[in-house]
């Protein structure tokens, strides 16, 4: 028997599979399709202080091995998340959930986390300082070590739950930013958010996305994600949630070898709604194929 469990900042997870924020809503859509309690956990839709419509459409473009999205943090706002989404989720998901939070100012990050902190369903915070699809906030916090540290420090003060900072890959040196988060009290980092990309419509001779640029996800970005997880693993002593194109059980193993304690599955859920469950189901056979008895033993093993 192989052992899939991992411990993420003190919370035991049956397996390291976490559907990524923005690809799994608040879970209940997927709960109609399968019992989502098979998941390690999931990271819910990026939540901001106020309700947001997001960007105009088209918000989606296709590319080789992946897709671009420019949803722009559409969400009902933290109050409705607490009053409507979390109660609906409670009926179908009985594990700690990961709360993904975004903001446009330090104060907004702090206030949103403070409001969510009392919710017993929430096991971890994942603070997104790397959304490439919003202007005047979002990614700009994630592109300098100083501002990443500021957000981490401020949010740290209002929650004692495990705090993960979600990092942008669109930077010269992601290890510098990860170290700043660690030094400012983060319990871990999650990476990578999407690469910033674009497509142009040849017929219209205009960008496909109304937002011009979008976040690039899918299997195509996995080599960049693996490289960054590998680099950050060398640079910090806090756990890493690895993500970026993971679509198979083999991808999970590769990402954990690079240094991830747990992994997020993003775009794959959109292409195959059962992807996260399928990956969990496929893990034991893949582990046996590669001689792995316990997933937690391979974290960072490629560094040896």
């Amino acid at each position: 028997m192989v052992n899939l469990s991992v411990n993420l900042s003190g919370i035991e997870m049956a397996n390291p599979i976490i559907p990524a924020s923005g690809t799994f809503g608040f879970g209940y859509e997927f709960a109609e399709l399968y019992d989502i309690n098979c998941l390690g956990t999931f990271s819910f839709k990026g939540t901001t202080l106020n309700p947001r419509f997001g960007n105009p459409t088209p918000r989606i473009a296709e590319c080789e091995g992946g897709m671009l999205n420019a949803v722009g943090l559409q969400n009902p706002g933290v109050d409705k998340v607490i009053s409507e989404e979390l109660p609906k989720l409670a009926k179908v998901f009985h594990k700690p959930v990961m709360a993904n939070v975004s903001g446009f100012s330090l104060e907004e990050y702090v206030e949103t986390v403070r409001k969510l902190d009392g919710e017993k369903q929430i096991g971890w915070f994942e603070v997104n300082i790397s959304c490439p699809n919003v202007h005047g906030g979002g990614m700009s916090f994630g592109t300098s070590a100083a501002s990443a540290a500021q957000v981490t420090e401020a949010v740290r003060k209002v929650t004692s739950k495990p705090l993960y900072i979600k990092l942008s890959p669109n930077v010269t040196d992601i290890t510098e930013i990860a170290r700043a988060c660690e030094a400012s009290g983060a319990d871990g980092v999650s990476l990578i958010n999407t690469l910033m990309g674009m497509r142009i419509d040849l017929k219209k001779k205009k960008p496909v996305l109304a937002n011009v640029t979008g976040g690039f996800s899918g299997p195509a970005i996995m080599p960049v994600a693996l490289r960054m997880v590998y680099q950050v693993y060398k640079a910090v002593n806090i756990p890493i949630i690895g993500m970026g194109g993971i679509s198979t059980a083999e991808d999970v193993i590769e990402m954990m070898l690079a240094g991830a304690t747990a992994v997020q599955v993003g775009a794959a859920n959109l292409i195959n709604p059962y992807a996260s469950r399928d990956i969990i189901d496929a893990l034991p056979a893949a582990m046996e194929k590669y001689g792995i008895r316990s997933l937690s033993e391979i974290i960072g093993a490629a560094h040896a």
Binding site: G25, C63, G66, Q74, I271
Partner: protein
Amino acid sequence: MKQAIYEITRNQKIADHVYEMVLRGDTSAITAPGQFINIQLAGKYLRRPISICDWSDTDITIIYKVVGGGTEQMSEMHPGETLDVLVGLGNGYNTKKSGDAPVLLGGGVGVPPMYGLCKALRAEGKAVKVILGFNTASEVFYENEFRALGAEVTVTTVDGSYGMKGFVTDALKTMEYSYFFTCGPMPMFRAIESVAVTSGQYSFEERMGCGFGACMGCTCKTKYGNKRICKDGPVLEREEIVW
């Protein structure tokens, strides 16, 4: 919604750039005309959403136009080959509001969902008028199929090479009807909106990520809040639409 593997039992050209494909497999997830399916294609990351034209207990008929690499790939597939498909997506049309004599307006590849809808309305005993709009004669399809359902069919072509010369709205203006249902391009929708004299339902198109409500890629604003075209749509009622 169900995900399953479907076998292609038919795939043939029925008009310029337009193909009819029949897929054999589980159709139990289809609950209303106007729903769509989402097809995975080798080498393409996103699935291709295609509206359902008709369905039985064992088969789904779709009609698609070759507009890019994905649909071109579909057009080159053969009976016996299989496709991974998500079936029964979207809300579909609500026939309950149609009144006794609804009119259906389909433009180009907006025609196919009108067929399943027409069938459903005829089964409910409604007197159905259908207006099918195309650019030119070589693009016309399914006129006889609609007549076989007992509908009163008018075909319009922009260049007048077949049927009535003009747009679907030119035909609509001459008719009496209790309600309308439509699917087609945005300029057609705007024209209908400006001349229609009853309530009705529009089926919208948008670039989609997942097709089942997860990614928020296709959200639009309505008078009653945000709606996902893929899940809360593609059919919206005239009264809720923000133009």
